[in-house]
Symmetry: C2
Subunit: 535 residues, 2 copies
């Protein structure tokens, strides 16, 4: 066909495009009166949610936002988070959720690096934002979720402040008709960089759309499901592995601000929740609370735990107490994020495995030279998938490095079992090189947990050491009310591990440094104890 | 990012692309030893199937085929059909399946219009092909599925003949690494044009990939499923609504050359088949055969009937005899093809409806002026979906006409019920304009079936008429052993329908003209009887 006129190009785009915002439009068209979102006493239908999104999108267009402009979003879990995300999607604006654990340095860096021109924020973050906006002349709009900014927050003159309600007020509630390309960015999600500056993961509409469909297939999500969102929405796992699939499926999403075992169990009982997703430690807290005060939880169909395998004892207790399917989802921000699913039928039969590739994912194990390795050999986990990131924003070097040899390098070390099951061994950077041998820190951690029930948390890192190069070192916390003799632990673990894998020291600490999603920051531990073996 | 070098562009493409061929690659990587295809006594694993496809793709590359080149495929259902389809996919060659009911005029037209440079064909079609190749100088390769061409087929000197086995002989079995864009064409599928020349529906990788995922979600297809392919693979319904979803799901596809109720029921019992898809009339034949000689069919999980609703009496018998879920899939070649699914839970509760929109589909009802109509008002069914055709090949006029007002015009007339269920009324061109009133031919057909059990098939068309403009006319066949009095039928139907909807004549014929997939060709009936009311 000859190049279409601008007018016809728009008509074709509206008819054929891949746009995450259209997933909401379609659910609203299919079942307008179905409840889309529930947040405390607030309930909203698909039609009302979609019209709210549309009014907001028209408001952004009126402010001059166009495809490719970045809008930051600083908010805890609430309806307005999703209204902003879908409004950006429909008009091609790039949503840039901010991690609520970031402080001024990181906020400044990301707002500047992403070339953000406006921020949507809850009131409670305004004081923090006010501290950094002075040095960010590109930022001209502040849209406050609950209302105008309180008078005691000093903002630069140039920043125009309005509420989210004002932004959409009087705007059209019909779908905005804007040309957005399949691979246009929907979001910049910054990965927490502990050794370097955060990297901006550019997620396209196409990538997040396909990942959303892949999760629906893996979790068998259906319109009748009732799904809880309690993990932070600024994190891709909650946002794109559970929120977008729920909306695309015409199901109902229950929004909690954070994980609380009492609130969650009460909600499951009151609303007949069928699905939620959390970290392994949350499941342990749920077990304790449910055993303490049992609720009716028979509505649960599937629960998903993320990122790390769960010990079989916990799995057995969960199956017993909650009597529902369990699956593990594994991935990373760059995969939008789901890469593997450890399916309900595999639980307990492959302890510690992370499953098999999702429908849109091909997984290889690669050596340093770029050769794909056969099953049972360990190497770096590499991916091919249409839901990979487009690139790292403004970082061509990192992009080229990550995509070398035609595969995305995950930074994870693992291997396939003979039966095709994938086993995660360690983060590439967490493999300890001790006395010429490679030691997977996770293997040592597991051995420590197994021999010493008094341990609450264990992190094994390689610390600089004159003789070993890196010395295998365990940094641990102890369960409440217990005391620990490090020498005794060392003695016990020597019965389980080859000598070169045994820790050279066990260091007891009061608390571990953690990320927003509750993961222990190994890099920080490594930094904190870098001089431990210095003489 | 600055424009990547050609080398890095290829690496990014291989890592991130949307390619239907990659769906096979991924299934082969995930579970290489799983049985992919079964055809009679032949069984092939995912690994072997994928390597066969790769060798074939490398063979095509060696012959000089490049992205955008068209390769025709003239074959009944067999493994080699799918080998050719996936080989084309992996290297961006455009597969052009030929309808086996076409004769020389249509074959010549399509081979020329699609600018085909080679044909893959079964031996039995060579004589037919030989008749047209003389006038198609662009065609330089003939690849014979079962072996070299027999000596008695006279082919032009320029045509190089080899077998499919020779094409792949000695070629690499690794995946070819070729840059193919998301929206590059995977296939040209020609719709049967009865009033005009066939139109070439350009289906992109992205469209067919997304439709494949949509069908997996609608049918809940899983790796453990065993799916029968018995409808012609040259038709999009078999190819993209059942073959590609089965392959992408790592399930097993059983290939039958055609529908045969005895063979199909024997296969279901012998292989524990869980899913198949057919036309309503096939289900009736299956019921009769199963009642005549019952097989064990408890492995059936879901059967899908396509294109037309099934009478409730048939549905009840099917549910009773086969005891499995039933769903109706509705669509058209331009939708790749699935647009709606009439789900298991809706069967019997909405007789005659065609369901609700698939996950990737938005449906509107539009009037002639381009206005979207509210529920319960009839108009043309229009679609927005990323699995719409890219365009009609070399037919910008038809493309612009089809996509006017930013929606694809299906040519079907229908309406939404108050509850959001979609009802198909008629093909737009089959709506009869009689004496100033619009009459849906399907409504009259239903009324005739209801009042006269002796009728086997009924087609209602509008024929040119001096007084009425178009006269509502019923062309019918009669059940074996029965005779019919047209006047009596007219009398009965007058009790059911408004006078302006009643047929002016009932014409009994011995047989109806039909398409490859068994649908009655209304256009042909209209042509055959165009002069019926001439005086």
């Amino acid at each position: 066909m000859t190049a279409p006129t601008a007018d016809f190009a728009l008509q074709l785009n509206l008819s054929q495009r891949v746009n995450v915002g259209d997933m909401l439009t379609r659910s609203a068209a299919r079942d307008p009166h179905k409840t889309a979102l529930v947040e405390g006493a607030r309930r909203i239908s698909y039609q009302d949610f979609n019209q709210w999104v549309n009014r907001t999108a028209h408001g952004l267009l009126a402010l001059g936002y166009r495809q490719g402009d970045a809008l930051a979003l600083m908010s805890g879990n609430c309806m307005e988070f999703l209204v902003t995300y879908y409004a950006c999607a429909k008009i091609g604006v790039v949503c840039t959720p901010l991690n609520l654990f970031w402080r001024q340095g990181e906020l400044s860096y990301v707002l500047s690096h992403a070339q953000v021109r406006g921020v949507v924020a809850q009131q409670r973050w305004l004081a923090e934002l006010a501290q950094v906006l002075g040095d960010l002349p590109a930022i001209r709009d502040l849209i406050v979720i609950e209302g105008p900014a309180p008078a005691d927050v000093a903002l630069p003159q140039r920043v125009q402040v309005q509420s989210l309600a004002q932004l959409g007020e009087g705007r059209a509630q019909a779908d905005p008709e804007v040309l957005v390309q399949d691979r246009a960015p929907l979001s910049y999600l910054y990965t927490s960089g502990t050794t370097s500056a955060p990297k901006g993961v550019v997620g396209s509409h196409l990538a997040i759309y396909l990942e959303t469909l892949g999760v629906i297939i893996d979790t068998e999500l259906k319109a009748k499901d009732k799904v809880v969102a309690m993990m932070p929405m600024f994190h891709t796992a909650q946002l794109n592995a559970f929120c977008t699939p729920t909306i695309a499926s015409n199901a109902t999403l229950y929004i909690l601000e954070a994980f609380d075992p009492v609130l969650l169990l009460d909600l499951i009982e009151a609303e007949q929740i069928s699905m939620f997703f959390g970290l392994p430690m949350m499941f342990r807290a749920l077990l304790e609370e449910q055993e303490h005060k049992p609720r009716k939880v028979s509505s649960l169909r599937r629960t998903v735990y993320a990122m790390a395998p769960m010990p079989d004892d916990d799995l057995r207790r969960l199956m017993d107490v909650f009597d529902c399917e369990l699956s593990l989802m594994f991935g990373q921000t760059e995969m939008s994020p789901a890469s593997t699913c450890f399916r309900p039928e595999h639980q307990l039969s492959h302890p510690g495995a992370i499953g098999t590739a999702g429908i849109n994912v091909q997984i290889g194990i690669m050596d340093e030279a770029g050769n794909l390795l056969p099953r049972e050999q360990p190497g770096e986990i590499v991916y091919r998938s249409p839901h990979l990131l487009t690139e790292y924003l403004h970082d061509e070097k990192a992009t080229r490095e990550a995509f070398r040899h035609g595969w995305f390098h995950s930074g994870d070390v693992g291997h396939f079992g003979a039966d095709g099951m994938l086993w995660f061994e360690d983060r590439h950077k967490d493999v300890i090189k001790s006395g010429g041998e490679n030691v997977a820190s996770i293997e040592v951690e597991k051995a420590l947990y197994a021999v010493e029930p008094k341990l609450a948390e264990v992190v094994v890192v390689g610390l600089p050491h004159e003789r070993w190069g890196e010395a295998v070192t365990a940094v641990v916390t102890v369960r409440p009310g217990e005391t620990l003799d490090p020498e005794e632990v060392l003695h016990k673990v020597k019965q389980k591990l080859s000598p070169f894998k045994c820790p050279k020291a066990v260091v007891v600490v009061d608390a571990m440094p953690k990320t927003a999603t509750g993961k222990i920051q190994k890099n920080q531990v490594r930094k904190d104890f870098a001089a431990y073996f210095d003489k």
